[in-house]
């Protein structure tokens, strides 16, 4: 289809406008907004799609606002072989007029005109593709949906050498897919229409198997019951036979029992004969033994008597030796007694001298103890009277010193009267005679007042001055204190005190040393022990000199006594030793004699016993022989032996009879027959039990109706199986059909994708360069663009690139369908996303496309398409 001209009248804001388009090539319609560019396309759509009488709101909206006129559109169009002018007015005074010029003139109006144009377009134009090739305002980024166009498909098929498909194929494919989805899931698995019947078949198969098994069990039971019935009959017969056989065996066994009794009697008789023989033999043996024993006893008596008489001389010699040994013992005993007595005296002598010495020492120690005690007692007494202890002594010493110092002070203060005698004078000082020899001098110290007298000659009253009074008083006090101190201590003066103190100290030492001195002499003894020891020793020491034998002299001292004691003791030991030797010799002789006499007495005893025994045996033998002679015994034994032999013969006979009767075999057979009969009975019982159990089981299962249920289920399974087979056939057919259709369709699509892609790449290289590769899906949508080996998915491309590729795809498409009469590519305000360089390239590309197709560009930007070479430019003004 080609649009040659469009004229609008009273269309929205446009009063009247007419635009001519070049049939092949690019027409650029420029104009500002609201100049009516988009109205051109709108009017063309309504002209072709809507009847003139339409009441659609969108059509009504095309009516001009300020005029009561119907919007009107007229177009010159070419479609296939048809060329026509088509005019419609809507809303007000609607009309439709068609004037067909080629291939033959036609002129129609109203509905006829509308229908005729629809028919022409249906016949010649792919209307869907016509819409798809347009880019309306704002559609720039919407990818072209070209795959639905049958024109394009047909063109592409032709390009690929195939035949043109139509919508019916797709409808058929859709129906086949619907049928397929009845049986299969979209992912190709069996759908419910298949799985549910299959599950049913599976379930029924299981049920049938179960019922068959159940029936099999029942039939096995029935078969077993029949077997058991037969077995029972057989066993019953066999049991009866066995019972009869056992009875026959029993009568044979009774005869055997008789033979066995006879044999038992024979055995009894034989045992009796055997016992008799044993008794006879035993009596004979006893007799023989008795004879031998009697003889032996007589011989023993004779032997013993002989040995006794042989031993008599030897016995006497032994007695003599003993007497000699006894005499020697007596002699040695006397000597030893003397030596021992002497040794005893000497020992006592030694003890006496030792006691004597001990006593002297003890006495000395006791004396020293008494001295110590006496001295200590005296010292204690002295201490009781001596009051000058250390403190008293010190007090006195201090009083003395103070007195001396007071005296010195008094002396210094006193008045001294020095007297020198020129001749002997009888001087008296204060009444005290102090005669002086010629030349002698004396001084008299005067404290207060003193009186010097020369009796008869003169008396002088010397009075000390007042300064001497105080020292004198002090001196008097000190003197008094000294005197008091001495008086308290019971002594005269200091010297006396010193002496008394020394004596006191000595007394204290003696008292203190007392215990040490006593202990030193007591050593390890107490005083009592010591005294007791002395008391013990004293009588002994006193007694021995009086008591001892006078034959020997008492040794003079301790050492002599000790030596004498040692020597005599040694002599006594030697004598004792000799005595013991003599005693041992005597004991040995005595033992020899005792042994001999014991032997003799034993011999005598034994002889007595043997004589008794010999006598008893001889008596016993005689007695038994009186009862039965030796010959009688022998005869009895022989008779018993003969009887035993006869019993043996009888027993062997009985045993033989028993053996001949086959007792063992018969018994074995009888026992076996019994066992077999019992076994048969047991088996019969087992069979009976099993029959009972089986019968009970069959009673229980018999009415379950399993046979009928099984055939009903089998029928059901059969139906289900056939149903399933039918479904499988149908589903397989649907699958095969869809797969075959899909494969064929995919192949066809793949075939016409190639020329489409080639055409896009041919055009697109102008814009994207020679390395451009485009991937196109089977539905002819664009998948990706590859430039310089960089592949970008279509949706990830920039807005400009997407718009450019969308336009290129449309131009390619238009080029491809040109052979069918072509479709215009209409772009309303497109390429708004392209930069100036791209616009230039797109201009070249549009020019290239325009060589084959009709391209109509509407724009309000005159510059946008200035690079489209050879374009026809139509300017619209507002």
């Amino acid at each position: 289809m080609k649009v040659r001209r469009i004229r609008l009248r009273n269309w929205r804001g446009v009063d009247e406008r007419e635009v001519h388009f070049t049939p092949t090539g690019v027409t650029v319609v420029e104009g500002p907004n609201e100049a009516g560019k988009t109205s051109l396309l709108e009017a063309l759509d309504y002209l072709l799609d809507e009847p003139e009488s339409t009441a659609k709101a969108k059509v009504k909206a095309a009516k001009p606002v300020h005029r009561d006129e119907g919007p009107e559109v007229e177009a010159d169009l070419e479609a296939g072989p048809y060329e026509f002018t088509y005019r419609k007015r809507f809303v007000r005074k609607p009309l439709a007029e068609l004037t067909v010029r080629a291939p033959r003139p036609e002129s129609l109006t109203g509905r006829e005109a509308h229908d005729r144009v629809r028919a022409i377009l249906e016949e010649t134009t792919d209307l869907a593709l016509w819409k798809a090739l347009r880019i309306d305002q704002g559609d720039g980024l919407v990818p072209a949906k070209l795959g639905s166009g049958t024109w394009l498909g047909a063109a592409l098929e032709r390009a690929a050498g195939g035949t043109a498909p139509d919508d019916r194929e797709e409808t058929l494919f859709g129906a086949a897919e619907k049928e397929y989805l009845r049986w299969w899931t979209p992912s190709g698995k069996e759908g419910r229409e298949q799985t549910e019947p299959a599950d049913r078949v599976t379930a029924l198969t299981a049920e049938v198997a179960k019922l068959r098994e159940e029936l099999g069990r029942i039939e096995a039971d029935v078969a077993r019951a029949a077997d058991l019935a037969r077995e029972y009959a057989t066993l019953s017969l066999a049991a009866a036979d066995l019972k009869r056989a056992a009875a026959a065996h029993d009568s044979a066994l009774q005869r055997i029992q008789g033979l066995r009794l006879r044999k038992a009697e024979c055995e009894k008789e034989r045992a009796l004969a055997e016992a008799t023989l044993r008794n006879a033999e035993s009596a004979a043996a006893e007799r023989a033994r008795l004879v031998v024993e009697t003889e032996v006893a007589a011989a023993e008596v004779a032997d013993l008597e002989k040995s006794r008489s042989d031993a008599a001389p030897e016995s006497e010699a032994r007695l003599n030796a003993l007497a000699e040994a006894q005499a020697a013992v007596m002699a040695f005993a006397a000597a030893a007694g003397q030596a021992a007595a002497l040794a005893a005296v000497r020992e006592r002598d030694f003890e006496f001298r030792r006691d004597e010495l001990d006593l002297a020492q003890l006495r000395e120690r006791l004396a020293r103890i008494v001295v110590a005690e006496t001295e200590a007692d005296a010292a204690a007494k002295a201490l009781a009277t001596n009051l000058v202890d250390e403190a008293a002594l010190q007090t006195i010493r201090r009083a003395r010193e103070e007195f001396v110092r007071a005296q010195a002070a008094a002396d210094a203060a006193r008045t001294t009267v020095r007297v020198s005698a020129e001749s002997a004078v009888d001087l008296r000082v204060d009444g005290i005679a102090s005669p002086l020899a010629p030349g002698e001098r004396c001084e008299v110290a005067v404290l207060g007042a003193s009186r010097l007298e020369l009796p008869g000659v003169a008396s002088f009253e010397v009075v000390a001055g007042a300064g001497a009074a105080a020292p004198r008083k002090t001196l008097d006090e000190k003197r008094e204190r000294l005197r008091d101190a001495c008086a308290t201590a019971g002594i005269k003066d200091l010297d006396d005190a010193e002496r008394a103190h020394a004596a006191r100290k000595e007394s204290e030492r003696v008292v203190a040393a007392r215990d040490a001195r006593v202990q030193e002499n007591l050593r390890d003894l107490s005083r009592d022990t010591l005294e007791r020891k002395m008391a013990n020793l004293v009588p002994r020491v006193d007694a021995w000199p009086r008591e001892r034998p006078v034959e020997t002299a008492l040794p003079t001292d301790f050492d002599a006594a000790q030596t004498a004691a040692r020597e005599t003791k040694s002599a006594a030991v030697g004598a004792a030793k000799e005595l013991r030797a003599a005693e041992e010799a005597r004991d040995a002789a005595r033992k020899v004699r005792d042994d001999a006499s014991a032997q003799l007495s034993r011999t005598e005893g034994r002889l007595g016993v043997l004589r008794d025994q010999a006598t008893r045996r001889a008596d016993a033998l005689a007695a038994t022989r009186a009862t039965s002679s030796d010959e009688q015994l022998a005869t009895g034994r022989d008779a018993a032996a003969a009887k035993l032999a006869a019993a043996d013969v009888a027993l062997r006979g009985a045993q033989k009879d028993l053996n001949d009767a086959g007792a063992d075999t018969l018994e074995t057979l009888a026992a076996n027959a019994r066992a077999v009969a019992e076994q048969a009975v047991r088996k019969l019982r087992t069979v009976e039990d099993e029959r009972t159990a089986l019968s009970a089981r069959l009673d229980a299962t018999g009415e379950s109706g399993v046979g009928e249920r099984l055939s009903a289920k089998e029928a059901e399974l059969d139906h289900a199986g056939r149903d399933l087979a039918g479904r499988h056939a149908k589903s397989a057919a649907a699958k095969l059909l869809v797969e075959t259709l899909r494969t064929a369709r995919d192949e066809a699509r793949a075939r016409y994708v190639a020329p489409f892609r080639d055409r896009i790449e041919h055009l697109g290289k102008v814009v994207f360069g020679p390395s451009l590769r485009i991937e196109v899906a089977d539905d002819l949508s664009l998948v990706s663009r590859t430039v310089d080996d960089r592949t970008v998915p279509f949706d990830s491309l920039s807005g400009g690139a997407r718009e450019q590729l969308g336009l290129i795809a449309r131009l390619a498409c238009a080029g491809i369908v040109e052979g069918q009469g072509g479709l215009p590519v209409v772009l309303d305000d497109a390429l708004g996303f392209s930069d100036p360089r791209r616009l230039e390239e797109m201009g070249a590309l549009l020019a290239l496309a325009g060589r084959k197709s009709q391209v109509i560009l509407l724009t309000c930007f005159p510059d946008r398409y200035r690079h489209v070479g050879g374009a026809t430019v139509v300017r619209m003004t507002g």
Partner: protein, 376 residues
């Protein structure tokens, strides 16, 4: 003396080619046929009825089947004698020994469980040859006859079950009934009539006219001849008159046809359309030949319609016997083009071969044609 001879009731039988509803109908009708037979016996003045074996389909029928049968028997106005046959032998698991049967057996019903003669009516003795197991290893009828003394005036009817040796397909069947020895027994007057069961076709055996198979009272399979009858027997020592009466309702039809084109398909349609009492008709078609997809589709429609009407329409091995070969006509008016055309050509190539894939391809083509027509 008049009595009713019937056999092979096989109550509790299931036919696997029947749908659930048809099976229920079939089961009810089989019991109704027996009921009608016993009513006939009363009407015709029969002194008793004998059932020559296979009263039940199996020893392991549902309790309900047994109870219903006993109820029906109890309602009958004649004494009924039942013989255990190969389907319901007198073994340890036998239906005859089950408590339900023992306790609910009506007084007019007797099981012929031994070969001892029973007085069925004054002057009439019945001798049964019951099956003791499923597989007896001897001629039970001959064995029963052997033990019999010549009759002393009474009419003697022997009731047996199994295949007569002259009809038996198995030459060495130990259990086959010797026709010769049976006829000898009749000639010698030991028995006067041998009422047989097992064979579902109404059959007069041998020369005497006194050895008969009553056949099944209701048809059970395609190969049965004159099924659906019972026999009213008028018997005395000198004569034996046997009158068959139809009591069955169901028919089995086996039809074979070669199909080569639309005319043959038309004939199948006509045949099925002409059938009477369709709901009690069981049909098995064995069709051979070659059909186009279009003819096949038509045949399928005809068969689907018949299946809705008939008691049962059995499938046949269509893929081996009836070949579908698509031809150009199948596709010429479909106007297939483009990939659909390609797909159909490929499927046709596949369908022309053999094997499972070819079958699937033919089915796929059938589907394609159907869908394409729907799309038109």
């Amino acid at each position: 003396m008049r009595f009713l001879h019937t056999a092979d009731w096989q109550l509790g039988m299931t036919r696997r080619f029947l749908g659930a509803a048809a099976q229920a109908r079939f089961t009810d009708d089989r019991l109704a046929a027996v009921r009608d037979a016993l009513e006939l016996a009363r009407r015709e003045g029969c002194v008793f009825a004998v059932v020559s074996g296979d009263v039940f389909e199996t020893n392991h029928v549902d309790r309900q089947t047994v109870v219903r049968a006993l109820d029906m028997l109890g309602a009958a106005k004649v004494p009924v004698f039942l013989l255990p046959g190969n389907h319901d032998p007198l073994d340890a698991g036998s239906v005859w020994l089950q408590r339900t049967f023992r306790e609910r057996r009506p007084p007019n019903v007797t099981v012929l469980d031994s070969t001892l003669p029973i007085e069925a009516a004054p002057g009439v003795e019945l001798v049964g040859a019951p099956w003791p197991t499923k597989r007896p290893l001897r001629d039970l009828v001959a064995a029963a006859c052997r033990d019999l003394a010549p009759s002393t005036g009474a009419l003697r009817v022997m009731v047996g079950h199994g295949c007569v040796d002259t009809l038996s397909p198995e030459r060495d069947d130990a259990a086959a009934i010797s026709l010769a020895s049976a006829e000898t027994a009749i000639r010698e007057g030991r028995i006067h009539y041998l009422a047989l069961g097992d064979r579902h076709s109404l059959t007069d055996v041998g020369e005497t006219g006194r050895i008969r198979y009553a056949g099944a009272p209701e048809a059970t399979d395609y190969d049965e001849k004159a099924p659906g009858h019972v026999l009213v027997v008028d018997l005395d020592a000198d004569s034996c008159r046997v009158t068959p009466h139809r009591v069955g309702r169901w028919t089995f039809l086996l039809h074979e046809a070669d199909l080569a084109g639309d005319t043959d398909v038309d004939q199948v349609e006509a045949l099925l359309g002409a059938l009477a009492a369709k709901d009690r008709m069981i049909v098995k078609l064995t069709l051979r030949g070659v059909l186009t997809l279009r003819q096949q589709a038509r045949l399928d429609d005809i068969l689907a319609h018949a299946r809705d009407l008939l008691g049962a329409l059995e499938e046949w091995e269509r893929h081996t016997d009836l070949v579908v070969r698509p031809d150009d006509d199948d596709f010429s008016d479909l106007g297939l083009s483009g990939f659909a055309q390609t797909a159909s050509e490929r499927l046709r190539a596949l369908a022309a071969a053999d094997g499972a894939e070819a079958v699937a391809a033919r089915d796929a083509l059938g589907l394609l044609v159907r869908l394409a027509r729907l799309a038109e």
